[in-house]
């Protein structure tokens, strides 16, 4: 990666971050969920709805055959309606503001203005969904059913309805039509386990590096190194260790993990010391 690519990567991830200042004055830096995650969540939810509907139908069929009463038909119709209309609304009104699909993808709904997510917003955003999913399907059905609608008109109809459904691809906040109208966003909300601190200097003094050897890398490289160390993949560690050894001109003398860990700790200590003095070196291309 070059300096330009690095900067571009940083700019791209910064573009997804939205300022979100709590009353305590801390910016939570919410990240907008990507279109792919949203689509994945939708697919999971639709599958779950179908599954629930299937099980519910089987159950009602069984009850209906046993009781010989058409009340079961009523229950089935109402149940299917409630399931379809209130699946999303019901889950998003909960404290995690996410359907099972969204939870799986680690995303949630929030109010754009930073206030609490109100029930009317959730209702509005999900009733619009009815349109976004079913309008293209309806267009397709209507076009296929009526011969007088020519293929081109059908195509135009489908395209028009798809621009509504795919509205989230055309704005940088990844808002659906429903999000736009309800004043909501869908943002990342994964849970992150607190991994052990690998920066403790218990055995960090196995090797010492000189100032010049530590001065070659910046924060980006430090955090990549952290990722490799936490990943504990011996092949990746070997590659990274070799790259660093080549860069600072050290012979292969120690175990890879011992070398990398000591290097990581000393590099981190050095960069954090600089940070405290107000110098943030983003990557190796930035001046030291």
């Amino acid at each position: 990666m070059t300096a330009a690519a690095n900067a571009k990567h940083r700019a791209a991830s910064a573009k997804k971050i939205r300022q979100f200042v709590t009353p305590e004055g801390v910016d939570l830096e919410l990240k907008i969920a990507s279109a792919g995650l949203r689509f994945g969540a939708l697919l999971v939810d639709l599958l779950l709805i179908l599954l629930a509907l299937f099980l519910f139908s089987l159950f009602m069929l069984w009850v209906g055959l046993a009781s010989q009463s058409d009340v079961t038909v009523v229950v089935w119709l109402l149940g299917a309606f409630v399931l379809r209309t209130f699946w999303f609304i019901g889950f998003e009104l909960g404290s995690r503001a996410a359907t099972p699909g969204k939870r799986l993808m680690g995303i949630r709904v929030v109010a754009r203005d930073g206030g609490r997510l109100t029930a009317d917003a959730v209702v509005a955003r999900n009733l619009i969904r009815e349109l976004e999913i079913f309008l293209p399907l309806m267009m397709l059905g209507a076009g296929a059913a009526e011969d007088m609608v020519s293929g081109w008109i059908m195509l135009a109809g489908i395209l028009w309805s798809l621009t509504l459904s795919l509205f989230l691809l055309f704005n940088r906040d990844r808002m659906r039509m429903g999000d736009l109208i309800a004043g909501t966003w869908v943002v990342m909300a994964q849970r992150v386990k607190l991994d052990a601190d690998i920066g403790v200097d218990a055995a960090g003094g196995a090797m010492t590096f000189t100032e010049a050897e530590l001065a070659v890398y910046g924060i980006f490289e430090l955090q990549e190194l952290e990722r490799v160390l936490r990943g504990r993949d011996p092949r990746a560690m070997r590659e990274v260790a070799d790259a660093i050894r080549a860069k600072i001109g050290r012979p292969v003398a120690e175990e890879d993990d011992v070398f990398l860990l000591s290097y990581y700790r000393q590099l981190k200590a050095r960069l954090e010391r600089k940070l405290l003095f107000g110098k943030r070196r983003e990557d190796k291309y930035a001046s030291d």
Binding site: L30, D70, L127, E272, L275
Partner: protein
């Protein structure tokens, strides 16, 4: 006297290090995490008063840790964890300020009628559009019955067209022998079907509103057209009054709901086209929230209409009684929505 310079070696052992910071604060984060998990799983009621008091303290401690970590630490895992924990905490601490019961109570007593009241202009417009549709088709079909087939689907009408005899039409209104033979077995199925179908149409007419309200208007106009055409067929056979009763018993509720769903859609459409002094996005989201409340109400109204249509209409066969029930329902809705109440002032 100049004091002798302190030996430089002392600075070598720093008092602050990010590892020490973490070691000191980590217990708070873990406690906060556990508390949040408990809150998410079991709700605020499961927390003891001690834990409730701890919650804001731990929340602020976590936010402060996040600020410090951002300024001093380069440990990605630590930063990510604190960020995720703070976001989760923020939405739980600030998210819910009302119990579900209170929310429900406020919706029925205040929010729902207030939302309906605030779209009164749109409701009037949509009502006029439906009326206009009905008048158009009525006058066309009355002058030339052939028009009927342009307006009403053959399948939907179920034989209720200009070619039918007065006797047949009479039976469709639930009078005469045929209706009695049919019995009441299918009533609830029919009512449920009507309810789900109408709800979907209403949701669609609301959802189409954001396309500047035009499709909503068209959909509502179309609803009026079907109505007017039927009306013309029945009144040509001298059954206008009976048909009115047949329609009125649930129609006041159902058409009111249809008008409201159209009004909700129109509100969004106009907000997008004419945002006024607000930003377009902000205007849309404000309109959307009002419309969302109206729509929950619409679904409830349609449920009532489905009951009236499925049960009420088949069980009450006297035309005058049907008119009375319909009028009563209309008066009830009007009173519920438009009589001002004390909460309006506050």
């Amino acid at each position: 006297m100049i004091p002798p310079a302190a030996p430089a070696r002392v600075i070598d052992a720093p008092n602050f290090s990010t590892s020490r910071f973490r070691a000191e604060r980590e217990a708070d984060w873990i406690a906060f995490d556990l508390l949040l998990t408990k809150l998410e799983k079991k709700g605020a009621k499961a927390l003891t008063s001690d834990e409730l008091l701890q919650l804001p303290i731990l929340y602020r401690a976590t936010l402060s840790s996040l600020s410090i970590a951002r300024a001093t630490s380069l440990d990605r895992a630590l930063l990510d964890h604190l960020e995720a924990l703070s976001i989760r905490g923020y939405f739980l601490v600030y998210g819910v300020r009302e119990s579900r019961w209170n929310r429900l109570r406020r919706f029925f007593l205040y929010d729902w009628p207030a939302a309906v009241r605030s779209v009164w202009k749109e409701t009037l417009i949509i009502a006029l559009v439906i009326l206009l549709g009905a008048l158009t088709s009525y006058s066309l079909v009355a002058s030339n019955p052939e028009w009927y087939f342009n307006f009403v689907d053959e399948e939907m009408s179920g034989g209720r067209d200009p070619r039918a005899t007065a006797e047949y039409l009479q039976t469709t209104l639930g009078h005469g022998k045929a209706a009695a033979e049919k019995g009441e077995s299918g009533l609830h199925v029919f009512a449920t079907y009507l309810f789900t179908h109408n709800s979907r149409v209403s949701i669609l007419s609301f959802a189409l509103g954001f396309a500047f309200g035009v499709p909503t208007l068209m959909l509502e106009y179309y609803q009026g057209i079907g109505l007017g055409a039927m009306m013309a067929v029945f009144s040509a056979k001298g059954l206008g009054f009976d048909f009115g009763g047949w329609l009125f018993i649930h129609g006041t509720t159902e058409l009111f709901a249809a008008a409201l769903s159209g009004a909700a859609g129109l509100r969004i459409g106009t907000a997008v086209v004419f945002p006024g002094a607000r930003g377009r996005l902000q205007a849309a989201s404000q309109a959307g929230r009002t419309a969302g409340k109206v729509m929950v109400g619409v679904i409830l109204m349609l449920f009532a209409a489905g009951l009236l249509e499925g049960f009420g209409r088949q069980l009450i066969t006297d035309t005058m009684l049907r008119y009375a029930t319909g009028t009563l329902m209309l008066l009830f809705w009007l009173a519920y929505y438009y009589i001002p109440r004390r909460e309006d002032v506050t």
